[in-house]
Symmetry: none
Subunit: 249 residues, 2 copies
């Protein structure tokens, strides 16, 4: 059971939502379960802030942050969770049930992290590129014959799980001494630098660059870096690049 303060450490991120009524319904579900931070990435309709379905949650739509790009929206988050059905794709990341997600999120918040839960557009869900920003995927156990959920309902089920009282649950004492989490934006900076190094050292043939970039983003998230790890790696790759391409003149 997350405290109210902890719930403010969670962003609900809607990626390219199409129907303003769904955005409003998400806001209502968030208010029902005590969540307040909404981010909307590249919404299809400009006038979603007035969605009538946000009953009792109008303030939430007013305060929602809009971003043009998903990587900017999650740049300050240390744990990024993707949602959606995996019926038609093979996941690159670990997949957990909503029930398994709750303690994982509580642990991340306990060690000072910030969490984003991503929900994709109504028709297709999150893209492969969206998913490459995720540390973890959560799949709601839906029927294989009709796996695709309504957006507002999927958000309601996920958030319900996070506030659902679990008999005898508490953050594990280990989490207090766990290493500090890393913001998604810092991992992106490191990925950019490694990519430059790959290119400057002749490691990546041009035809492999897109595939390498994708794998690299996934790997960096899987590796559970700490801030000191990232600082050290940034320092090393900057140094290597400087040597590979000495400043001219």
């Amino acid at each position: 059971l997350l405290t109210e303060g902890q719930r403010d450490g969670i962003d609900v991120v809607l990626v390219s939502p199409r129907n303003p009524l769904n955005i409003g319904a998400v806001a209502r579900a968030m208010a029902n379960f005590g969540f307040a931070r909404m981010k909307v990435v590249a919404p299809f309709e400009p006038h979603w802030r007035e969605a009538k379905s946000a009953i009792g949650a109008e303030h939430l739509l007013e305060n929602a942050r809009v971003c043009a790009r998903l990587d900017d929206a999650v740049a300050d988050c240390t744990l990024v969770v993707g949602t959606g059905t995996l019926t038609y794709r093979k996941p690159d990341q670990p997949v957990v049930s909503p029930a398994e997600l709750a303690p994982r999120i509580a642990e991340e918040l306990a060690r000072g992290g910030r969490v984003a839960i991503l929900f994709g557009p109504e028709k297709h869900g999150l893209t492969r590129e969206d998913l490459s920003l995720c540390h973890l995927l959560v799949e709601i156990p839906t029927d294989a014959r009709q796996p695709s959920m309504n957006l507002g309902q999927a958000v309601a089920v996920c958030l319900y799980e996070l506030v659902r009282a679990e008999p005898g649950s508490a953050a594990s004492p280990e989490s207090a001494t766990a290493p500090s989490p890393v913001a998604s934006g810092n991992l992106d900076r490191l990925a950019d630098l490694i990519e430059e190094t790959m290119s400057a050292s002749g490691y990546s043939p041009r035809t492999m660059q897109a595939a390498n970039r994708h794998d690299l983003r996934l790997a960096l998230r899987r590796l559970r870096w700490t801030e000191p790890d990232v600082r050290r790696a940034l320092g090393l790759f900057r140094r290597v690049l400087w040597r590979l391409r000495p400043p001219k003149g």
Copy 2:
């Protein structure tokens, strides 16, 4: 976790629903979680069977039973469960959480009973008279400042609870997709190569080399590399080193 046969022993009963889109959304949530029996009592709109929101659940709307009165609708049920917020009323029946409801329903079905879960109209919820037909009430733990849920979302959360697997009740999907472990020797090869790169690029002052080597070994183990990660990193650092120290002659 209810079996498919058991799910057919549960009726989802909508009492005087107003908006056909909500009825369709309920049908969709039912299909998502493998429920098929819907009853609609005294619907406000006559044309709800064509609701467009019943994506993938059109057959469910077609097969729904319509009743003029709630008592008729639940006449064949042995356990009738009312839903809704109890913020403004004092309940006469026992109140359980959705989590407590699941085993109670499983027990009822195991002994050959039939269960109805009632959802009231959008604005006011179930009346006192509706509630008088209930054995039990279930309350979703919503925020006191915004307790009233969207109809489709309330149904989704309740049905999700009934099919939700307890954590640890089956092989965890996380462990099934967990990356293959890496032999310690491979991590050491990588550590050596990174150390050489640090030295060749001038990253490490000589006095820091021992400390950096120690931190590096710890970091590589903490990062939970997979074999492909290690192969890729070895390839990159070999390439970088080759460029930093081109072979003489």
